[in-house]
């Protein structure tokens, strides 16, 4: 396991974060939240909307948090347990532009794109739960999150994650999940069919609607991802360790509030932090620092015995090129080798730092993550894999492709030991040329075409689907007439 931070340095970051919480505090733009903090023993400054959180309250809250999180899926075979020591991966989130699959031109994203990307996410086995890769622009912003959730449910039977753009959106999506699982009471038992989350408006601040959603989740105790959005050099210190301290303080503050309103709420503890490019003033997520922040933060989450939520694999490049490939590969690999329980944006399909989705890139991301999964699996050592008898059988100057016991041994372990490419080229030149000298982009295009032509997601129950459709139509009618 890769370790970026020593034990002593993790502790140093931990104690520094506690000092920030006690001495500087965190802003929560929500009156009720301030009162709730105060009643629990924090120091609330109502004028500045600021809470200062003592160490004992942080410790109390950390003790409430379970060490594992189970996310439920429409098809139970896709239920996910985070915190079991394995690394899990998912896709990218929220592009509002798309490189058109036919013309290659950049255009506004649509609900149809979301449908396509979700079907691909359903198909790719290394996308273990599904995020909306697209935030479609052809649906009004006030209701888009409901349409997004409906489209996810119709096109994927894995756990579907959404973002709530408002408290009303949060409530509506809970209603939809209730329809999905069979009623209000069922949902209380199965609230992990959804997940929620809070990220900061750094430094050290939670906006009003984020805070409202934290409070609302007290009723349901859905699994919550907490992730600081600090940018080193702009909304966090330029030093990575300083940014880690601030991120951790921000995360702990939200964690305390989640636990006060809903003790035992499962937390996935993580980061969507990175750094700012200080020449252009825009955030960069394909930076090596983003990978380092993720890998280091894995250790901080594990120090508190919580599963980690990472954001590694994002691409700054505008086109699906060499830059895109190395940006994505490096940071996912780094985070995976550090043992990150859950890596969001790993099977990445978006260019331009989250803005422009690219169909081909999704297939390339699939290939990248499959390679990384092989690396993370490591080298198994058993009497059978050490293969002493087989080496003896083949002997000197023999061949593992001739000796029958060796051939059988190869057959037994081949798929376990040797990664198989889906779209990468390894052909001899003559055959590669005969087949049209295809580049990775062409191979990726063919894979995308094949998936979109053939993959049929497991359909929703007809009645459930009709009720969800009716619900979303109703919300849209109401919202848009107002």
């Amino acid at each position: 396991m890769l370790e970026i931070l020593s034990r002593d340095n993790i502790y140093k970051i931990h104690t520094a974060s506690l000092q920030i919480l006690e001495q500087v505090g965190v802003v929560f733009k929500h009156k009720d939240a301030l009162k709730i903090f105060e009643d629990a023993g924090a120091n609330a400054d109502y004028r500045r909307e600021l809470v200062k959180i003592p160490e004992h309250l942080v410790k109390w809250a950390l003790n409430k948090v379970p060490s594992q999180v189970t996310l439920l899926a429409r098809n139970p075979k896709y239920n996910l347990k985070l915190g079991d020591g394995r690394v899990h991966y998912t896709n990218g989130y929220g592009a509002d532009h798309v490189l058109d699959f036919e013309s290659g031109q950049r255009r506004d994203s649509t609900l149809k794109d979301l449908e396509n990307f979700t079907r691909m996410a359903d198909y790719f086995d290394n996308v273990e739960y599904v995020y909306p890769s697209i935030f479609p622009k052809d649906v009004p912003k006030t209701v888009v999150d409901r349409y997004v959730y409906l489209t996810l449910l119709k096109n994927a039977s894995k756990h579907c994650a959404n973002s709530f753009l408002s408290l009303d959106g949060f409530k509506d999506i809970v209603r939809m999940a209730e329809i999905l699982v069979g009623g209000e009471e069922e949902f209380i038992k199965k609230s992990a069919i959804l997940d929620t989350g809070a990220s900061t408006a750094p430094p050290l601040k939670y906006p009003e609607h984020t805070t409202a959603c934290i409070l609302e989740n007290g009723k349901y105790k859905m699994p919550a991802t907490i992730c600081s959005a600090a940018l080193a050099g702009a909304s966090g210190p330029v030093t990575i360790s300083g940014t880690l301290v601030q991120m951790n303080a921000e995360n702990l503050a939200a964690l305390v509030l989640y636990q006060i309103v809903g003790p035992g709420t499962p937390i996935i503890y993580g980061t969507i932090a990175s750094n700012m490019d200080l020449k252009t003033g825009i955030p960069t997520y394909g930076s090596p620092e983003c990978g380092l922040i993720n890998a280091a933060f894995v250790q901080i989450a594990h120090y508190y015995n919580m599963p980690f939520y990472g954001t590694a694999g994002i691409i700054d490049s505008k086109v699906p090129d060499e830059q895109a490939a190395f940006e994505s590969s490096e940071n996912v690999l780094l985070t995976a080798l550090a043992g990150g329980d859950f890596i969001h944006d790993a099977v990445y399909s978006i260019l331009e730092t989250g803005l422009t989705a690219c169909y081909e890139q999704f297939a390339i991301g699939y290939e990248i993550v499959n390679r990384i999964k092989r690396i993370v699996k490591g080298v198994g050592v058993t009497d059978d894999t050490i293969a002493l008898d087989i080496i003896r059988d083949v002997g000197v100057e023999g061949s593992y492709l001739k000796q029958r016991s060796a051939l059988r041994h190869t057959r037994k372990y081949l798929l376990d030991e040797l990664w198989q490419p889906a779209i990468s080229d390894r052909l001899p030149r003559s055959i590669w040329e005969n087949r049209g000298s295809k580049t990775i982009m062409q191979m990726a295009r063919e894979k995308v075409k094949e998936i979109l032509e053939t993959h049929k997601p497991e359909p929703l129950d007809k009645d459930v689907e009709a009720r969800l459709e009716a619900f979303v139509r109703e919300v849209a009618k109401k919202e848009l007439s107002e």
Binding site: S399, L401, K402, R404, L407, R408, T410, R411, L414, P428, R429, S430, I431, E433, N434
Partner: protein, 216 residues
């Protein structure tokens, strides 16, 4: 069990790459009085063709191809003596095959040899790293219909040309059809050095052999 069942089981044993099972089933077939030629064509060859095709499509591994070939061979070795007695005239032709000088790769060449044998060719395998004189010597001795020259490296490809030139020098070039193959080779290369045919993979090697002999 009907003979259709036994053919199907033979096919599957070969397709699954199980030499022991194929051997056992072949013996059973003969005991039951199944025609050896039919057992070969409807069982073993069908199985090995399936392996070859699926390998060509990228669905199977070299290991599967080799084990499939071995399974086919295990069955064929039992059928051959019986068939020789029954069916003398079936031979499609005689093939001499080998990997050229400086090249020690054997897998592709061995697969081609097995495939050719399974199709009904008589195959003589010279082995690997064979100098041109040895090829020419053997051509004179065995008088094969086809000479197969394998090269797996760009570096050793010119050796294929050397063999053809030596055959011409010895005035026996027109006595034998020369097929070349191996990953780096191309049809253009085959034309350039005056070979009679080119086989990019094991499956096309059998097709190409039939073609150059006018038996396709």
């Amino acid at each position: 069990m009907s003979s259709d069942d036994i053919f199907e089981r033979l096919r599957r044993a070969v397709a699954e790459g199980d030499p022991e099972k194929t051997e056992k089933l072949t013996k059973e077939a003969l005991e039951k009085g199944v025609s050896p030629l039919e057992a070969l064509e409807k069982g073993l060859i069908k199985g090995v063709r399936e392996v070859g095709e699926r390998f060509g499509k990228g669905e199977l591994f070299i290991t599967d191809l080799i084990l499939g070939g071995e399974a086919m061979k295990a069955g064929a070795d039992i059928l051959k003596p019986v068939m020789k007695a029954e069916d003398k005239g079936r031979k499609l032709g005689k093939v001499l095959i080998g990997t050229v000088k400086g090249d020690i790769h054997s897998i592709g060449k061995n697969i081609v040899a097995t495939m050719l044998e399974s199709e009904g060719f008589e195959v003589h395998d010279l082995g690997e790293d064979i100098p041109e004189e040895a090829f020419v010597e053997k051509v004179k001795e065995l008088k094969p219909d086809v000479l197969g020259l394998s090269s797996l490296m760009t570096m050793t490809m010119p050796a294929q040309k050397d063999v053809i030139e030596m055959l011409a020098k010895e005035k026996i070039r027109d006595k034998v059809k020369v097929l070349i193959g191996g990953a780096p080779t191309t049809r253009e290369w085959a034309d350039e050095i005056g070979a009679d045919g080119w086989a990019g993979d094991a499956v096309s090697a059998t097709k190409e052999s039939r073609k150059v002999l006018g038996k396709s």
